[in-house]
């Protein structure tokens, strides 16, 4: 290490621009902060020795210097910003209807633009590798840039002495010379103290400083950002994060996925309320409700019981359940138990539960050869009636649709059930096949003697709940809190220093702040009032 000894006796590390103790510009290093030929000193990081400005030989140096550059950092932020904006032009894949083919959806809905968007991968922008890479690079950049600056700055501010080199004083942005015999230094110090400056003295030189802690704001907020990012990364670790989904029908008890068979939920009732203009308390929304035209939902709620399994978990064995809580999940009010939370996320109204059919003569609806009931969540293969008739279910379509002339099921939820039945009458060898759905009753051969007709059905609601366990939340919240503390610390306070140097016939005064120079000047005017110190000048020249 090539240490540099200043004329004031202080030993500075290699790469120092301004002596840590007295601020004298160190010869041969002024190019680092671009101080040559400049009237004013660049006070960035107080001229401390930053690694990125000192070494540029090895590959490690080069990587370090790359990431520690704010120019690079801003570029990364701007690129992320532009990419994000592009990601909002069309909906992301997660917001398009779930059972469509994305490739054709984007093409059909948005034409050529959609096709290009899809092919470039913008439909999944925020989980694309290059978006993640941008964020990761911002993270790295934040860490390196902060380390590069914090430690040198911290050391320099710690080692600074009130007695400053003349060149340092003269080349401050705020500088003034007072020629007068009776400068009232006692009043000056009193004023400073009143304005909560800390005062350090050395041989009659006075350094007044306040809010140094504001300088650490950026580093604190950067630490917050990093903690936040780490928290987000931990979501990829299964132990920290579970995200599952469950449909529960009314009256049903189901195992909660993600809990390893430990917890069960019973859906007692699903409630969907809508606003009603005739209702007294909703009457104030009358105009809006009428304008809307359709119903406006007011509440989504599942009344539920949570059970915990008490016996040992053996596959196939009926669980023994103990009630944990009787509660409800509402939007904005999830059910919480153990480490889990259940969120009201979705619902299905009026799903078919049971359907009852009867067998009658094809030409006469009043005849009845027996009835049977199909439980749609668990349909049997065949039903034998007391009258000796037998019905087989050849095919079951929970949610049927005709596609290219043939019935298919578009989901496994009994929202629009249809069946292919084969009927075996007791007195005949000939089986009869028919297709039956809501509003469809087709005789397969056209020669059937009997007909199966729907006599009754039962519906129920289904609630959809997300199951979440998220141990990353505390870390993410911590990151957010630290970030907020850091920005406030850095933004709402300013680091201000005023140096005063005694001269034979008066004093010199110089000031520095990390931001808001106008406010600093106002403050200096207040501290010098009545002291006979003259108002210093702002030597900064605008160049545009």
């Amino acid at each position: 290490m090539n240490e540099i000894t200043c004329e004031c006796g202080h030993v500075n590390p290699e790469g120092t621009v301004l002596c840590e103790a007295c601020g004298k510009p160190i010869e041969g290093n002024q190019h680092i902060n671009g101080n040559e030929d400049k009237k004013l000193l660049n006070m960035r990081y107080d001229g401390s020795a930053r690694r990125s400005q000192t070494y540029n030989r090895t590959i490690v140096d080069k990587v370090w210097n790359f990431f520690s550059s704010v120019k690079v950092g801003v570029w990364l932020i701007v690129l992320t910003l532009i990419a994000s904006a592009v990601g909002t032009i069309l909906p992301q894949e997660m917001y398009i209807p779930p059972n469509v083919d994305p490739a054709s959806h984007y093409r059909d809905q948005y034409g050529l633009l959609g096709q290009i968007y899809y092919q470039l991968g913008f439909h999944n922008l925020f989980s694309s590798w290059w978006y993640m890479l941008l964020i990761a690079m911002i993270g790295i950049s934040i860490v390196i840039a902060s380390i590069d600056r914090f430690f040198p700055l911290y050391k320099t501010l710690k080692k600074q002495k009130p007695k400053r080199h003349e060149l340092f004083m003269k080349k401050q942005r705020i500088f003034g010379v007072t020629e007068a015999d009776q400068v009232d230094l006692e009043l000056y110090k009193k004023n400073l103290k009143k304005r909560r400056f800390k005062i350090y003295e050395q041989d009659g030189h006075i350094l007044a400083e306040k809010n140094r802690f504001a300088r650490w704001g950026p580093y604190v907020n950067h630490i917050g950002l990093i903690i936040f990012l780490v928290g987000s990364l931990l979501r990829f670790v299964p132990a920290f994060y579970i995200d599952d989904f469950i449909w529960v029908r009314e009256g049903e008890t189901a195992m909660i996925p993600g809990t390893e068979g430990q917890y069960y939920i019973k859906n007692k009732d699903f409630i969907l309320e809508t606003y009603n203009e005739d209702d007294e308390t909703d009457a104030r929304f009358k105009e809006a409700i009428q304008k809307q035209g359709g119903p406006i939902p007011k509440t989504f709620q599942t009344n539920a019981v949570i059970y915990e399994r008490t016996d040992e978990i053996i596959p196939g064995k009926e669980p023994e359940l103990a009630e944990l809580k009787d509660t409800q999940a509402k939007m904005n009010h999830p059910i919480k138990f153990d480490d889990f939370a259940l969120y009201q996320a979705s619902y299905q109204l009026n799903e078919f539960k049971e359907m009852t059919f009867k067998i009658h003569d094809k030409g006469n609806e009043d005849t009845n050869y027996g009835e049977f009931t199909v439980d749609l969540s668990d349909p049997k293969n065949e039903y034998t009636l007391d009258s000796g008739y037998r019905v087989e279910i050849d095919n079951y379509f929970p949610e049927y649709e005709m596609q290219e002339g043939a019935p298919v099921s578009v989901s496994k939820y009994p929202k629009n059930p249809a069946f292919v039945f084969t009927l075996y009458p007791p007195d005949s060898q000939e089986a009869e096949t028919s297709f039956l759905g809501i509003g469809a009753n087709v005789d397969a051969s056209g020669e059937n003697d009997y007909k199966i007709g729907l006599v009754n059905f039962d519906v129920r609601d289904v609630t959809g709940l997300t199951v979440k366990k998220d141990h990353t939340l505390p870390l993410i919240a911590l990151g957010g809190a630290i970030f907020m503390i850091g920005v406030i610390q850095g933004m709402y306070w300013n680091h201000r220093r005023i140096w005063l140097q005694p001269k034979e016939n008066g004093v010199w005064i110089a000031g520095h702040t990390n931001k808001n120079w106008y406010a600093l000047r106002q403050e200096i005017n207040k501290v010098i009032s009545g002291t006979h110190i003259q108002e210093p000048r702002d030597q900064y020249e605008k160049k545009e």
Partner: protein, 396 residues
């Protein structure tokens, strides 16, 4: 109940006129040739502004009581609140720096925002389940306050640009400044057209296929751009000149496009007439009035200070509180829906602003342009994202 919402509406009118009067007093401060220290007109101006602000708070509270929920849940309510926060932020910065000119520009912008908001449905609307949360109020009000403070940065930036741009020759600076002024003219045109035609009760109704269904579509302005494959039903109304392109889906897409184009044309007319009258660039016309009054360094610092104060508030409201609410309502604190992404973009943008200023010395002109850009992003998030790219957030 009805009474209360009527009172509320009147308070908003009153606030509007108070802001208007205050603007004139701030305008009077220009007549003083001295750079600072003319207090009377400015003092009256700020007093009336504060009175107007209190009146608007009165509007807010009475409407809250009438609707039983904080009135920040539809575009009208949210946007008027934003206008109120802009005035509040202006008051705060006025007391730090005492720049009268700030009022002359901040108040008209707030007036435009409130007038703009009133063009949207103003009836009290019910809350869908996801919006029934205290975190919604906390999130929206804080985010809006943050945006209001950040907008003061734009106001100061605009003053800087008008007073400092070299108007002796045409440059990128002068052209962009004219563009900003034109944009403001287009907003004025939108307000004039909307309120004008609604005062006339203008309507023309079309039948057009929407998603395969014949639907009735109502225009409140003459339909220059009709819906795709639409048939005019109203008798005597103007036949559209062209049809909206096929790919514009949604019931109101063609109506919105029509309104948008008319406003742009109206803005062009306003701007064109002004230029004819002034016989020079609008920026060049305004400059001499400000030049003597403006201390560029001070205005630059006001602009920056507004960002310094507004950035943490915005982050807290628009990101952190938003995340807490989203976590409760939708089981994820972040979902990449357009509104969220645009809040993040705003955050990134101002982070870039701060880094550029701090480390790369972007002061004065560059910093002022950035402030204009930031305001553009805020307005985009407020208006375009709601009206065009609709996400989960149900302000519409």
């Amino acid at each position: 109940m009805g009474d209360l919402s009527a009172i509320s509406g009147n308070l908003l009118y009153a606030a509007f006129f108070l802001y208007l009067i205050a603007t004139f007093f701030f305008g009077a401060t220009i007549r003083d040739k001295k750079r600072a220290k003319s207090r009377t007109a400015g003092n009256i101006g700020i007093s009336i502004t504060i009175l107007g602000f209190i009146t608007q708070v009165g509007y807010f509270i009475t409407r809250w009581i009438a609707s039983h929920h904080a009135p920040v849940s539809n575009l009208f309510e949210y946007t008027t609140f934003f206008g109120m926060m802009l005035v509040f932020a202006f008051i705060v910065l006025y007391f730090i720096y005492r720049v009268d000119l700030l009022g002359l520009f901040a108040l008209p912008i707030a007036l435009l925002i409130i007038a703009f908001a009133s063009m949207f449905p103003t009836e009290i609307s019910p809350l869908v389940p996801s919006l029934q949360s205290h975190w919604l109020y906390i999130h929206v009000t804080t985010a809006s306050l943050g945006q209001g403070i950040l907008s003061v940065s734009f106001v100061a930036g605009l003053i800087y640009l008008i007073s400092q741009i070299d108007q002796s020759k045409t440059s990128k600076h002068t052209s962009w400044l004219e563009f900003v002024i034109y944009t403001i003219a287009a907003v004025v045109a939108f307000i004039v057209l909307s309120s004008g035609f609604s005062a006339l009760n203008y309507q023309s109704v079309f039948q057009a296929p929407i998603e395969g269904q014949q639907t009735e579509i109502t225009y409140q302005m003459p339909a220059f751009i009709g819906p795709a494959d639409g048939d005019l039903v109203t008798e005597g109304a103007m036949q559209p000149l062209i049809e909206a392109p096929e790919w514009m889906r949604g019931e109101d897409a063609a109506v919105k496009l029509n309104t948008f184009i008319l406003s742009l044309l109206g803005g062009l007319l306003l701007y064109g007439v002004s230029r004819l009258l002034m016989r020079k660039r609008v920026g060049a016309f305004l400059q001499p009035m400000l030049r003597k009054k403006v201390n560029p360094e001070l205005v630059d610092e006001v602009s920056y200070r507004a960002v310094a104060i507004g950035f943490p508030v915005f982050t807290l409201g628009a990101l952190i509180f938003a995340m807490i609410w989203a976590q409760q309502a939708w089981d994820r604190f972040w979902g990449w829906d357009p509104k969220e992404v645009w809040a993040l973009i705003t955050f990134f943008f101002y982070a870039a602003y701060l880094h550029l200023r701090l480390s790369r010395g972007w002061h004065g002109m560059r910093s002022a342009w950035l402030a204009v850009g930031g305001f553009g992003i805020i307005m985009f998030n407020l208006i375009a994202v709601n009206l065009v790219i609709s996400g989960l957030h149900s302000y519409a």
